[in-house]
Amino acid sequence: LWLNAAGWAGVQAQLDETFFSGKRNLVAPNDLESAMARFKREDILAAFQPHLQPGEEITHHAFGVKQPHFLLLVGLIFLGILPGIIAVFLLTKEYVVAMTNRRVIILQVKGKLNVKEMREFALGSVPPATTSTGGLFTHIKVQSEPPFVAKFHRMGLPNNREDAMAIGAALSGQALPGAA
């Protein structure tokens, strides 16, 4: 990336303001989540747009992954750290999940939100599902054919934890804690 003198001065001023004005202590948690987010909210909503029915509205959306089995993950990294990490990256599936007023839509994506596969569960007829929430991840497992299993990191997207919990609650038929 080549910048001209004026562009570089602008970048330098922005860096000075960020790092030397004390503003770095005022970063809101939501800003941090936005900075760490895998995708932008607008891009995710655009990816779901072709799959929506007339009158259907997205109420929650979340980003999750399905990694190889933990023992395989540990074994690969034990054999070699760098190739192990690359192997885990290659074997990880990425999902964006959206809940609408009618159904839950699951898109398996690769790269910059290129949709590989799509599936849906109508909210009235979801196969048995289990969810659990830990310190970092919300796990969702739907016992469909084939089963859908994914875990959602709390920093995957802004409000990823809350959205994943809401989607999990809708799939498993449970009420969210604190919900009326």
């Binding site: 054999l79 192997a87 074997l91 799509m118 599936r119 109508a122 007829s125 054919e145």
Partner: protein
């Protein structure tokens, strides 16, 4: 859900199953790389244009094995040089 239509044949769906073709409404689906029509993700070939989808694992597994072999060979050579 009432009014739900099968993604495969547009027939009505009852209890998550299409009354016409028997496909599950929640089955994974994808666009065929050949004709771009929606087909079952598990189908090895497109029923419309017979386009066969290649499995991504055909290059991922050899790449992973090659990486580990390369690391092993490099470590052996480095051990001989030290």
């Amino acid at each position: 859900m009432s009014g739900q239509r099968c993604f495969f044949c547009e027939a009505a769906v009852v209890a998550d199953t299409c009354v016409s073709c028997g496909v599950s409404a929640s089955a994974p689906r994808r666009a065929c790389d050949g004709c771009q029509r929606v087909i079952l993700a598990a189908a090895p070939a497109c029923p419309h244009c017979a386009h066969v989808r290649s499995n991504e694992m055909w290059w991922k597994i050899p790449l992973i094995v090659a990486m580990f072999l390369a690391v092993f060979i490099i470590s052996v050579i480095a051990g001989m040089l030290v």
